[in-house]
């Protein structure tokens, strides 16, 4: 399954809820304000790095750039564009948008 998260983990518990319900080997894509879940040195970073041991975490580059977070992304988070977003949707049987 592909999960998408579009809210900052400092605003809502969406990312936390998503990670609690994402099975090993699934993909989580951070979009819109969700990209803040991928920034390093934050209160969420360790949790996210831990999750990366069992889940593939992606972040939408256009949303990262828009917010000026280009140099602040945790290493290992896969950065993709909208074309990559489409590929992820195609590759996974189902998409669950955490709203």
């Amino acid at each position: 399954m592909l999960h998408t998260v579009n809210k900052s983990p400092f605003e809502k518990n969406t990312l936390e809820s998503c990670l609690n319900h994402a099975k090993d080997g699934s993909a989580v894509l951070l979009i819109e304000d969700g990209i803040f879940g991928a920034i390093k040195g934050s209160a969420m970073s360790e949790k996210v790095k831990k999750a990366m041991e069992r889940i593939n975490i992606y972040a939408l580059w256009p949303d990262i750039e828009a917010r000026g977070m280009q140099d602040r992304i945790i290493e290992g988070v896969k950065l993709i564009g909208y074309d990559g977003f489409v590929d992820l949707v195609v590759q996974h049987n189902t998409v669950q948008s955490w709203l």
């Binding site: 809210k7 256009p62 909208y82 074309d83 977003f85 489409v86 195609v90 998409v95 948008s97 709203l99």
Partner: protein
């Protein structure tokens, strides 16, 4: 693939409509088909032909109309949500039509993937 899209928020207030549009465009560029874009909750406001955003920013409503025209995409506004928010036929921008909630369920059944954009 045939991809269905659901947009749950209105233009400008949330990024949902932008994300959905850019996703749709990318999908089309890759040769996929957009089965339908279904607008629900405040998403029905994406069909409002009276919007007048500043000239130097994207025109969300027109963008959807143009995309629909260029690629023959079905833009559906939920009747129940629309009525609640005063979005009626006479308010619709080109390419949009009002129909029932069944259209999104149908999209889920007939598409290979359904992607929801919201808050």
């Amino acid at each position: 693939m045939k991809i269905g899209i659901m947009v749950n928020e209105g233009p400008y207030q949330h990024e949902a409509s932008d994300s959905a549009y850019l996703f749709a465009k990318a999908a089309l560029e890759k040769g996929h088909k957009i089965h339908r874009v279904f607008f629900y909750h405040d998403g029905v406001n994406n069909a409002n032909k009276l919007t007048e955003p500043p000239q130097d920013d994207r025109h969300i409503v027109n963008r959807w109309s143009d995309l629909a025209k260029e690629h023959g995409i079905d833009l559906v506004v939920c009747v129940a949500a629309a009525l609640r928010r005063g979005v009626k036929d006479e308010l619709l921008a080109p390419g949009f039509r009002i129909s029932g909630l069944g259209q999104v369920v149908e999209s889920g059944i007939q598409s290979d993937r359904l992607v929801v954009f919201g808050d």
